[in-house]
Symmetry: C2
Subunit: 336 residues, 2 copies
């Protein structure tokens, strides 16, 4: 049987395990031109929280009793598609389930000789591409600039900081545990970092860490930390909006200080994006990212929940609460 996780209820605040339901359905049969995929790793990501809402996110939301959306690393176990062979490891978007079929659209082969296949939904997948295009294309980072990244120990933030270092920039990160701070300082080479749970005045903290101001802010979290960035921006500063995880699970939407006048005084820019805006350039970016990984310039860590598909909801909820360092995955099955 194929075990799947569906949406059972729209969450109020943080999702609960009862907002999800485990169901069993027959393993699908691939038609001509399709492959049958077996999920090896399921990726759980902040954006999925938005898909659980009634209101429209940047893509269609998940309906009740539909399988939760998501990217996976999977193995081809049956192929009726000329470009894929049994045994191929691929990145696919079949959602939270043990098996799925695909007609090939959006399937990307993963080369197991470059790095562990789990990186196909991590540093060499959507989170890594998000960091790459967000920082370099949206943020237009220039050598020698000063970068601040929130959510700096996460799947995206940890890559943002390291790319900034590769590009000859000074980088400061914020995260929510001392262990995460030690990780980004000692292992990833950030120039400075702070545990936002131990700081009350973010404005003062950023002023101290950026006496000449912030050129690029890569925002994964939103909320009070982001508020404190605007008065600390340099002239022509750029704010890259990647995520707003502090806001996704609020039962009552927050208000915050108005800050748009800073955009005039600083001639600054705020811009939101999705990695998929740059999908026609994924191939070249992944070549560069893989090279940096193989050279040891890009390090990564994964937090892997074991125990199969039934543990996906708890791993997802834990990730939303900051329980992960680096990429949060769920191990679903072994590859053959």
């Amino acid at each position: 049987m194929n075990r799947q996780i569906t949406l059972a209820a729209r969450p109020v605040g943080y999702p609960k395990e009862t907002d999800f339901k485990l169901i069993e359905t027959p393993i699908p049969t691939p038609e001509d031109g399709q492959v049958l995929l077996k999920t090896i790793y399921l990726s759980v990501d902040p954006y999925m929280r938005g898909r659980m809402n009634q209101v429209r996110s940047y893509a269609a939301n998940v309906e009740f009793n539909e399988v939760m959306v998501g990217g996976v690393v999977a193995q081809v176990v049956e192929s009726r598609h000329s470009e894929f062979q049994v045994g191929d490891i691929v990145n696919a978007h079949i959602g939270w389930q043990e098996y799925g079929v695909s007609g090939g659209d959006g399937l990307r082969k993963i080369d197991p000789s470059i790095a562990p296949i789990s990186t196909g939904v991590g540093i060499l997948g959507m989170p890594g591409l998000t960091a790459y295009f967000g920082l370099l294309e949206v943020g237009k980072l220039q050598k020698g600039e000063s970068v601040f990244v929130s959510g700096a120990a996460g799947a995206v933030g940890s890559v943002v900081g390291q790319i900034a270092k590769i590009k000859g920039c000074r980088v400061v990160g914020s995260a929510g545990t001392d262990e995460k701070i030690a990780y980004i300082l000692d292992e990833l080479g950030f120039d400075a970092a702070f545990n936002y749970k131990n700081v009350t005045d973010y404005y003062a903290k950023l002023s101290e860490l950026f006496p000449d101001g912030i050129d690029v802010y890569f925002d994964n979290v939103g909320g009070s930390i982001t508020d404190a960035v605007f008065p600390n921006l340099r002239l022509k500063g750029r704010v890259v909006i990647c995520g707003q995880i502090s806001q996704y699970n609020l039962e009552n939407p927050e208000t915050g200080p108005r800050f748009l006048w800073h955009m005039i005084t600083k001639r600054a820019r705020i811009e939101g994006f999705l990695a998929s805006d740059f999908s026609d350039r994924y191939a070249d970016a992944l070549i560069q990212m893989a090279e940096w990984v193989q050279q040891g310039k890009l390090k990564y860590r994964e937090t892997i929940a074991e125990g199969g598909i039934e543990n996906a909801p708890s791993a997802f909820i834990s990730m939303l609460k900051g329980g992960n360092i680096g990429k949060q995955l769920v191990k679903i099955a072994d590859a053959d």
Copy 2:
């Protein structure tokens, strides 16, 4: 004697006339390489409110007992500068005073044959250039797009809407009196408009007026109207931050709903600017703007306070409260 208006006190909330002081000083004597200028029209603009604060605006603030900053249309009455003759009409930045000297930097000759010289601080001066570069260069307006402009009957907003029409776009404006609404609809050719004082639900109003969403929002006001734009943006929408006049005179800063997550869902951009960011392109832009004025494609109105320099504070305060249609000027003297 030279009568000048200086800063007497830093305003709390809206400026009062007692925040200004009229003083008399000797008329300055131009040195070699300088001209003596007689002010004909003084421009009073929203940005000046920021200069009256202690906190830094985008330029140095005005100190106590300093002459208020500002642009003027002036006449050269004495010249020891090879490029300027007595009688020349120029745009200058000598502030709120009847006479001033200049070494030529930032002086721009005004051709009285093109349009009335008052336009040198209006549609053919800083406000017109602000509209031009903000809409076309920052907003990257494309033919056929939908534009919303707040403060639409003001010196900048009224030009923004007309340029949008010239560029083949649909344009909607907001303003604060029915007279202003009639002006932008009947005289300037906006496609739709609303008096924001008669609307309670800006989100619903904008949804009704932009069923397919807003491509470019030109923001002169900030506050609640601006809040309502973000959920109404189209994919790849642009928000051009020109002014935030609703916020400049608040005794206690407002808070507002957090909206940055819309930037991700819409892949949108917010950008602040000053016309002076484009000063190397003023000359070409003014040729284009003058052509549109002469063709009758760009109309303008001026609200001119009579009575000399002593009426500058009341004219400025009136403008901050929305008393003007089009450009607010103060008539200081007649040209010879």
